[in-house]
Symmetry: D2
C-alpha cells in the first residue's frame, strides 16, 4: 500500500500504476533528493522539531541508502511510485520511527522542485564546462591555421574571402552567449522552494533560510504557491539549450558541407568518422550529422514542456511530473553534442592546398574593389555598379578580376589606376580589411589572442 | 572492428561511439529486422542469388537469434552500433559463411526504413484497438446514464442543458476521426522500401515484388531514392498521434474539472485515483492529469522529427537515426493514454443528484425560450433581445426563468402565452431539441444505438 | 452596441475590443460566410421557418453585400467584432426585419466552423493544383536531362551515380503523398456543422441534410457538440502542410547546395535569382532559400494550433478564434512555396559538362564493383571488404577504380577477371542497375513515362 | 530595376517578387533604419569618408522621409523589396548624389540586424512597462482583499486554505522573473553589428565604436561574421516571451475557471466581458480565454524561428528574412495579453460571500491537523495516517473536521486534546501558517508591503 494510502480501499490498477509511476526515470535525482533530505533533517533538529538523535539516525540511514544506490544494490520499486517515496520507505525500513519524522513540514511538491533545481544547477555547470572545452578546441584549431584564407559565404554563395580563424571565432562568440544565457538561468534557478510544503507553507517553526543556505541556494523562494507550481526555470533552461543546439546544428551543417567531395575543405580523422555497410569508400562525418540531428530533440524537449505547462491553474498539477524526461533528455543531448563537437574540432584537418586552389573562383575580391573606388571618391552606389560591370566583363572573358587589363578597367570607368591591383586577388583583399571585428589579419590576430587569454590557453 | 571498417585505420573515440550508437533503443525493432531479413533471404534464394541451403541456414539462425532475444539471452553490443549489425554479426558468428551473403542487394539504408515501416504498421494496429476500446468504454458509460442531463458549456460558462451521453458521444466521434487518420496513414506506410539498397537500387536480379508481398506490403516503393530518404510516414504518424493526444488532453481537462469539489459531477474510484503525501483527504484524478500532461510529449515528439527532417538534402543522412526515439515515445505515450482513459471511463461514476440539483443555475433554458419566440413568429434577433431582458429580470429577482410569472413575461413582451412554461426548466428544454445531431433524447438514443452497433456492443 | 449586448450595461474597453476583435483577418471568410447564410436562409424557407419572401430579400441582400465587398466598398467595423456580425448587421441595415430572422436556428459557433470548413476545402483544392503544377515542372525538367548522370549522396558524401531524372522523380513521389494526405484531409473536412447551433442543436424543425447538400458537404456532422468544439480538421490540414513544407525545405536545401560555386551543378536564370547590395557578382538562389525558410512558419503555425487546442474542455471556447491566422498563414505560405518551386524548376539549367567532369571523384562505382563480386560468388560481406581494399589502393595511388590494372586487382583478390571493367566507371555503373525502382536507365525511363501519363503531360 | 541589379539581364518574375518581398512587414522598422542610417552617415563624415555637407544633406533628407512615413505619405514599393532599399532609393530621389554614398561601408546584412536589435530593445522596454503595470494591478487587487481566504488547489482538488493575496502575489513573483529574463535578454541584444558589412567588415577606416555609442549600444560586436549571421537574440527574446505567455495562460485558465458558475468566485465587469449571439444570459470572460489562446501563437512564433535557424551555415542566408514576422507577432501578442490581463485585474470582483460559504467543503484544514499532531510529538507519517482516518470518519458522518466530537477524535487516537479545535476550521488553519513565504497573514502582509514598495505603489 502507498504511504499516502490511508483512506484508500483498493490499490490502483496495473495500467494506472504503470502510467503514473515516475521512478523509472526520477531515480536519477536520488543524489539531490538525499541532499535535500539531509539539509531538511538538520534544519528540523536545529529547530527542535526532531531530536538530534533522530537526525543522526536519519543522516546515517540516508548515507547508507546513497551508497547502496551508487553500488547498484538499491531496489527501486514501481509500487513506491517515485524517488521520494522509494527513499523514504527504504529509510523507514532501515531505521524505523525516526524516519517517519523526516516528512515533517514538507511535501513531495516542494521536495521534487528542490531536487529538480539542484539537479539543474549541476547540469548547467556541466554544460558550461563543455561549452568552454569546445571553445578551447575551436581556438586551438584556429591557432593552427592563422593564415588560411577560406571563402566567406552568404546565401551559400561565395561572397568575400575570410581568414579561417575569423570564421571559427564567430562560433566561439556564439558559444559565449550560450554560456551567458545558462549563467543567467542558473541565477534564477538557484532559489530554494523547500518549506513551501504542499503549497501554503507550514505552521511548524521551520527555518527556510537555513536549508536554503545549507543547500547553497541564494535564498528561499518568497511565495510558497509560486515555489511549488512554477516550472519556468525548466523552460528557461530548455530554451537556453535549444538556442545552443541551434548554434551547434549550424556548425554541424557547415562541417558536413565542408567535408563533402564538392567542397573538400575539411577531412575528419578516422576516429570521428564512420563508414557504410555497402559503400566501402565512404568516410562520413556522422558525428556532425548527428549533432545537427540531435538539435531537433532539444527543440522538441522545449516544446514538450511549453505545451505541458500551458493553461495549468495553480498550484501543483500532476502534469508537471512530465517535466523531467524532456529535461534529462535535453541535457544529455546537449552534453553529448558539445563533447562530440569538441572531439571533432580536435580531429579534423583543413585541406589548405585544395582551399587555396579554389579561391580564385567566385570573385571574392569584388567588394574590396568597390572599397577601392570609394576611396577614389566614387559614391558607393556608383562603385557598386562599376564593379558589377567589371564582374560581368570577367564572366564574359571567363577570367578573374585580377586578370583584367588596365585598358579593360579604364574602359569600364576612367577612375581606375595601377594601384587597383593591390586590391585584387584574394590575399590582397583580405589584407585590406581593417575595421574593428573584420577579417583583416591584425583584427583576427587580436581576437584570437583575446580568446586565448579569456579561455586560459597558454601560448 | 566495424563490419564497414575495411579501410579504416583506427576506431572511433569512446565519445563518438556513445554518441552515435543506436542499439540502446533500436533493438526494439529486432522482430521486424529479422522478419525483413527472412523475407530477403527467401527472395535471394528464389532468385538464385544464394542457395536454398544457405537460405535454410540463415532462416534457422535468425529463428534462434529471435528466440535468444525474446528469452533475454542475446547480448546487444554497442560497438556493433545498431540492431542490424548486432543481428548480422551474431548470425555470422553462429552460422558462418552463409550469413555473409545475407547483406547482398541491400543496405542498412533500406533495411532500417523497412523495419520502421513494419514497426509503424503494427503500432498503428495496436493504437486502433485501444481507440476502439476507449470508444466502447465511453459508449458503455453513456449507456449507464441515458437520461442524465448535465450543463453544456461554452467559454466554460453554462450554456444549454445536454444529455450526458450526447457529451460522451462527442468524444467517440472525435476518436473515430483519430482512427480514420491512422488508417489513412497506415495505407501510406504500407509500401516496401526493401531493395532500394543504399539509394540507387542494385544491379543484381532481385524481386522486390516478392519481398513486398511476403512482408504483406501493398507494393514496393517506386523510387529508390525516395524509399531511403523520406520519413514523411513517421511525420504523418506522429501528427495523427498528436491530434489524438490533443483530443485526449481535452477529455483529461474536462474530467479533472468535473472531479473538482466545485463541479463535483464525477467521482473516480480508488482504483484510478491517487492520494497526497501530506493531505490525507485528497483523492486526485491523477491519471487524467497525466493524460493531459502526456499530450505534451506527443506534440514534442512530432516537433522533434519535423525539425529533424527540415532542410536535409537527399538521400539518407545520419540525422535520420534520430527519428526512432520520438516515434517510440509517441506510440508508448498514446497507448498508455488511451488505456488509462478507458480504465478511467470504466471506473468513474457521475453524481446524478448533485448534477441535478445544480441544473437550475445558469439559465440553461434561455435558448429554448428564444426558440419558443421564433415559433411564435418573432424574428430571432428580436427574440434574443427579449430573452435577454427576461434573464436580466431573473437576475434582479434572483430567480429562474421558469419562476417568472406570466405577468412578468407579458411585461417584457406581449407575445408570451401560457404554453411558454412547457419550454422552461432544464428537462423541458432538453426535450424540445429535435434537430439532427442535437441533444434531444430521440436523437441521442439513436446515436447511442448506432455506436453500439458500429462498435459491436451487444444490447 | 453589440448584437449580443441585450443585458449589458456598458461596452468593453478599447483595449479589450482591440484584443478580441477578429474582423481584421476573418473578413477573408466573407465568401463562405455568405454562402453558408444563403444555404441557411433557403433551408429556413423550405422548412417554413421564414417566408419565401423573406428568403428572397435575404438572398438579394447578401448578394449585394458580397458585391460590395468584392468591389472594396464594404466597411468592416471592428466594433462589430467579426465577419458574421459585420455581414448580419449590414444586412439588417440594408433590408430590415427579414434579416433579423436569418440567425434563427444557428449560432456563431456553428457558423464560424462552417465557414472555416468551406474555406479549407477550397484551400486544399488550390494547393492540390499547385502540387500538380510543381510535379509537372519537375517531370518536364527531368525530361530535358534523361541521360544526365549526377552523383547520388548519402551523408552528403558521394555514394553512387544516379540519373538526374531519378532524383527529380523522388521529389515527385513525395509530392504525390503530400497530395494524398491533403485529399484524405479534405474527406474529413467535408462534413457540415451547420445546425449544431451553439452546441446542442435546436428545437426548431430545421433540415440539416438540405444545407449540407446545398453546400456540397458529404453529410451533416452527427454530434452537435463535436461539430462546434473540434478543430482537428484544422490540425490535420496544418500537419499535412507541414509535412509538405518539410519536403520543400529539402528541395530548397538541395538546390541551394547545387547552385553553390563548390557544387556548381545548377544555374538559376536571372528571373528567379536576386543580387546583393554590396557584392555585385552575387547571384543568389534566394527563392529556394526562402522556400526552405518559409517551411519554418508552416511548422510554427501547426505548433500554434496544437498548443491552442491542448486542454480545452468542451464545447466552444473563445481561444478557438486564434485558429484562423495560423491557418491562413500556412496556406498562403505553402501556396507561395509551391508556386516559386515550380517557377524555379522551370528556370534552372543543369551544368551537364561540369557535372560530368566531376563524376570521377568519389568512387561512385564502388558498390557496383561489390555487386560484380557477388555475381562471381563471393559472399557480400567479403566482397565489401575486397572493394574496401581496392578503394584504399586507389587512394594510395591517387587514381580511380577504373584505372586499376588487372594485376593490382588480382593482388587484392584472385577472383577479378577482365569483365570487371564493364562494371567500372560511372556510366557502366549506372547501366548495371536493373532492380525495380532503381536508377537504371530502363527503370527511370519507365517511371518518367508513368508520371507523364499520370500527370497528363503530352509526349 | 533593383539597386543590386547591375549585371542582371532580366527582372524576377511576379511570383518571385511577391514571394521574396519583405516591405509589407519590415516597413515597421523604418524608425530604426533611419536612426541607424543617421548614425552611420555621421560616422562616415567624422571619419572623412563623406563630407559634412553630404552628411547634412543626408540627415535632412532622412528626417523628411521619416516625417513622410509618420504622416502616411510615403509610398512603400514592393519592387524595392525591403525597408532599406525603399528608404535609400527615396533618399536618392530626394537628394541625389550624396545619398549614393550612404551605403558606403555597410551592407543590408549588417543594416537589417542593426535595425532589428534596436527594435527589440525598444520592444523589450515596452513589455517591461506592461509587466510592471500588470504587477501593479495584481498588487492593488490583492490589497482590496487582504483577508479573503480562498481554497488552495493541487490537482485542482482543494488542498489547503490560502489568502487570496498570497495567490495573486504568486503571479507577481512569476512576472518578476519574466521581467528578469527580458532584462538579461536586453543586455545581450544591445551590441552593435553595424560595420560588419556583408560579413567580413571593410577596408574603409570606419569607427564602429562611434556608431555603437551614438545608437546607445553597449559596444560593437566583436566578430563581423557572427554579427550578421546569428539571430540568437531573436530566439532568446521569443523564448522569454513564450515563458511569460505560459504564465499568462495559467492566469487565464484560473480566472476562466473562477468565473464559471461552478466556482463562482469571480465576476468580471461588463467592460471586460462579452456575450453570446444566441444565449442572452451569457457573460463570458473572453479576454482571459484569448489570453490563454494567444499564448499559443507566442509559442508558435518561437518554434518558427527555431526551425528557421536550424542547420543554416554561416553567414547570412535569405531564410533569415523570415525572422521578422514571428518576432513582430510575438511582441504584439504579449503586449496585448499583458494589457488585457491588467485591465481584467482592474475590473473583476471576487465574490467573498460565495467563496466563504464554500470553504467548509474539501477538508482544507486537514494538513493543519497533521501539524498539530506533529507538535504533539507524533511522527509525521503517523500523523498523516491519523488525519486520514479522521477524514474518513468525516466522510462517513458527512461532516467537517471541526464538527468531530472529542470522543470521536480520541477514538481515532488518544493524543487529541481540547486545544485541537484551535487548529480546525479554515480560519484557524490559515492563522496557523507561520513559515517564511507561507500563506499566514503576517507573511502575506509583509510580502504585499514589499511589493508595494518595490513597485512604487503609494500607501
Amino acid at each position: 500500500t502507498k504511504l499516502w494510502g490511508g483512506r484508500f480501499e483498493e490499490g490502483v490498477t496495473d495500467a494506472v500504476e504503470r502510467f503514473t509511476e515516475s521512478i523509472s526515470y526520477d531515480w536519477q535525482l536520488y543524489k539531490y533528493d538525499i541532499m535535500g533530505s539531509k539539509a531538511h533533517a538538520s534544519m528540523l533538529a536545529a529547530q527542535g522539531l526532531i531530536t538530534t538523535g533522530d537526525r543522526d539516525i536519519i543522516l546515517e540511514g540516508l548515507d547508507q541508502i546513497e551508497k547502496q544506490i551508487q553500488d547498484g544494490k538499491f531496489e527501486w520499486r514501481k509500487d513506491r511510485e517515485d524517488v521520494h517515496m522509494n527513499i523514504e520507505a527504504a529509510l523507514i525500513e532501515k531505521v524505523g520511527e525516526p524516519a517517519k519524522k523526516l516528512h515533517t513540514a514538507r511535501s513531495r511538491n516542494d521536495q521534487i522542485v528542490t531536487d529538480l533545481r539542484l539537479w539543474c544547477r549541476d547540469a548547467i555547470d556541466k554544460i558550461l564546462i563543455r561549452i568552454k572545452q569546445f571553445q578551447v578546441s575551436l581556438v586551438l584549431l584556429a591557432s593552427k591555421y592563422v593564415d588560411l584564407i577560406v571563402p566567406g559565404y552568404t546565401h551559400l554563395q561565395r561572397a568575400q574571402p575570410v581568414l579561417l580563424p575569423h570564421l571559427l571565432l564567430s562560433y566561439v562568440e556564439q558559444l559565449e552567449r550560450d554560456a551567458g544565457r545558462l549563467i543567467d538561468c542558473r541565477e534564477r534557478v538557484n532559489f530554494c522552494p523547500l518549506g513551501a510544503c504542499a503549497l501554503a507553507g507550514t505552521g511548524l517553526p521551520i527555518d527556510r533560510f537555513k536549508t536554503a543556505k545549507d543547500l547553497k541556494f541564494t535564498a528561499p523562494m518568497k511565495n510558497s504557491i509560486d515555489a511549488v507550481s512554477d516550472r519556468d526555470f525548466v523552460l528557461e533552461f530548455l530554451a537556453a539549450n535549444s538556442i545552443a543546439a541551434i548554434h551547434l546544428s549550424r556548425i554541424g551543417e557547415e562541417w558536413v558541407l565542408w567535408a563533402s567531395e564538392e567542397f573538400g575543405f575539411l577531412t575528419p580523422s578516422d576516429s570521428v568518422s564512420t563508414g557504410s555497410s555497402i559503400m566501402p569508400q565512404k568516410k562520413n562525418p556522422d558525428p556532425m550529422e548527428l549533432v545537427r540531428g540531435k538539435s531537433a530533440r532539444v527543440v522538441g524537449d522545449l516544446m514538450t514542456v511549453l505545451v505541458l505547462c500551458k493553461g495549468l491553474p495553480q498550484a501543483y498539477n500532476r502534469d508537471l511530473q512530465e517535466d523531467k524526461e524532456p529535461l534529462f533528455d535535453s541535457v544529455k543531448a546537449i552534453l553529448g553534442m558539445l563533447e562530440v563537437c569538441s572531439e571533432f574540432a580536435q580531429n579534423i584537418s583543413f585541406n589548405s592546398k585544395r582551399i587555396q586552389s579554389s579561391l580564385p573562383a567566385g570573385y571574392l575580391d569584388a567588394t574590396t574593389l568597390a572599397d577601392y573606388l570609394v576611396k577614389k571618391g566614387v559614391p558607393f552606389r556608383t562603385s557598386h555598379e562599376i564593379v558589377g560591370r567589371c564582374v560581368a566583363l570577367c564572366v564574359s572573358k571567363n577570367c578573374q578580376l585580377t586578370e583584367l587589363e588596365m585598358d579593360d578597367l579604364k574602359a569600364v570607368h576612367p577612375v581606375f589606376e595601377a594601384d587597383v591591383y593591390a586590391y585584387l586577388g584574394v590575399e590582397n583583399a583580405v589584407n585590406k580589411f581593417i575595421s574593428y571585428g573584420s577579417t583583416g589579419s591584425e583584427q583576427v590576430k587580436r581576437q584570437l589572442e583575446d580568446w586565448r587569454v579569456q579561455l586560459g590557453i597558454n601560448p
